[in-house]
Symmetry: C2
Subunit: 357 residues, 2 copies
């Protein structure tokens, strides 16, 4: 009968493509079972359920076992995940806010209207669909879009023991100023009031254990951004832009701000990258590859291009984002791919941070 050590030896030849170490050394192999007929089952614990190389890793494991152990019967690899956090190994401040949250993602943009909320929402839902525990904070106090995009019009969060309980929809824990005040009321808030509202979203909400908590930030480089990075350790920022020069000029400012504040930049997503005509040609209305070129020039990971199309807008307006309403569409696929890149960058960053300890 095949022994567990033999399986481990076989799997030691499989490298995690990003981390460049083998799965056994990384501690990613669990629950090896071998029965009398040499049927083998084991679990690979990835660092994120949204791992873009999930299928590739699974196949490599099967191939490695088959090659090393030709006597093996059926091989069953279960892909599981335990999301890493940059605080996993080093001494984190145990009094910090949101300590039940493994990773905090700031979705930011230099300019407004580039589709930041659309990206944040589709990112959150895509992560949840992959199996992650996800929360989303609508930090755009002056123009909250999350209630509309999730189709939540009347629900109010409960208050239990002086804490706000987040709403939940599509498996996402949600908080937005739009759930607390009348939607039509102008929020004429001076800066310091906006800062204290964002602190309340962090401290006075009963956030459960989460793999990813996404902040949909307002555009620009103002009070709310400052407050966020000064209040909690942000894992990294996802920058959203459209391709035109006037948008990129503002992105530059946002990138500089995050760098100054020592917030890692996970990468850049180019939204409204092109319009696809019925004959399949693309009209690069806002300029060709502006975001991608910018990312290259700034040495920022390019996380993907999202086309400009009606399905995306309709998904947002109708309260059922495109990754749910049209999951097979080109747009949904683009979001799903970008989501996996975000998750991958976080895993890489966490591995890097934890290796430093």
């Amino acid at each position: 009968m095949i022994q567990e050590e033999q399986v481990l030896a076989a799997l030691k030849t499989v490298a995690e493509p990003d981390l460049k170490k083998d799965l056994v050394t990384l501690g990613m192999i669990k629950d090896i079972h071998i029965d009398e007929a040499n049927n083998i089952a084991c679990t690979v614990v990835l660092t994120t359920p949204a791992c873009p190389m999930k299928n590739q890793i699974r196949q490599s494991c099967i191939d490695a076992i088959k090659t090393s152990l030709p006597e093996a019967g059926t091989i069953e690899i279960t892909m599981s995940s335990k999301v890493t956090s940059s605080c996993d190994h080093h001494e984190c401040d145990h009094e910090r806010p949101l300590k039940e949250v493994k990773n905090i993602i700031a979705v930011a943009s230099g300019k407004g209207g580039v589709g930041k909320s659309t990206v944040a929402v589709n990112l959150a839902i895509s992560l949840a669909r992959e199996g992650a525990k996800v929360g989303l904070i609508d930090a755009d106090l002056y123009g909250p879009s999350i209630p509309t995009m999730f189709g939540i019009y009347d629900a109010k969060p409960e208050i239990i023991s002086k804490k706000l309980i987040p709403l939940e929809k599509y498996g996402i824990k949600l908080m937005s100023i739009g759930f607390l005040v009348e939607t039509d009321t102008a929020l004429i808030w001076r800066g310091p009031m906006a800062s204290s509202a964002i602190k309340q979203f962090i401290n006075d909400v009963e956030w459960p254990e989460l793999d990813y908590l996404i902040f949909d930030l307002p555009p620009g480089t103002g009070d709310i951004q400052l407050t966020l990075v000064q209040t909690i350790p942000v894992t990294g920022a996802v920058i959203v832009t459209t391709p035109q020069d006037v948008a990129l000029a503002d992105v530059s400012k946002a990138v500089n701000m995050f760098r100054k504040m020592q917030v890692p930049i996970l990468g850049l997503i180019e939204n409204m990258s092109h319009y696809e005509l019925p004959d399949g040609t693309k009209d690069y209305i806002f300029g060709m590859h502006g975001g991608e070129n910018f990312a290259k020039a700034q040495a920022i990971a390019f996380l993907g291009s999202i086309p400009i199309d009606r399905e995306i807008r309709e998904g947002g307006d109708k309260g059922k984002p495109v990754v749910l309403s049209q999951p097979r569409s080109v747009s949904a696929q683009a979001f799903s791919q970008a989501t996996k890149e975000v998750a991958r960058q976080i895993s890489l960053f966490n591995a890097h941070m934890n290796a430093k300890q």
Copy 2:
């Protein structure tokens, strides 16, 4: 020989279409000249050079003179203008800032990225092309677009007697934070600092006599908007939106803010209203007539629809806005038409305010 009184009597039959009074009563007829051959020349002084009914009024004057005075020779009507101000007749605070400025227009939006700066820039240039004296303040301190849209990259405003001298391009007097600090530097400004910057743009810049001073506001309803309306008497706000629901939700807030602050709303411009396919059909990517319907529901004047197209974006990115670079294009025509509607609303509002005195 025809007498001046006869010409005036003829012109007393011509009504100003918006103000519903005749041109003579409104004091709009100047410099009547009649020579021995009964050739008649006179000047009509409109309330704005961008009057959308300019040609119609001119033709009505010719027809009225021809009908009443068949013995007239050539008739030469010169169209001129003297832009009105809401302070023309009533007791204005003579110590107020910007007293050399007749009208202050706030171009605002609830949401960012709807093309507010693009509208502000094309509005400013269109007004100047009609002959008005125009200034433009880039009040979007966190994401100034005006330098790029005017193709101004290096110029710095001079300082004379402790006052900043506005730059000038395409006949527009310009001021932007982008002229004062490094373009790539993130403006990580807390609210109160932003407010004081906007006050400096009002008080510490040597603004000349202007018919229209346009503020390109940042999106939303925050500090800068509050500071502006509390510092100077704003003639009115032009609201820019795109047609989709999530944008309109934010517009609602902006409209409510201006109403609360008692700033008149001159009207709404719908940007990115549709994409025109090569066969002429229109793809209402962001929803059909969202802005127009919203304006109707809110009893706000609808000032026009601007299509989504590459020329507009290219004009902005290349520093030569579409009304200058492609003046005959559909987009330029749309901007030009919307500009005339803005000027018309201001004239109407001023006439109304001054009539109240």
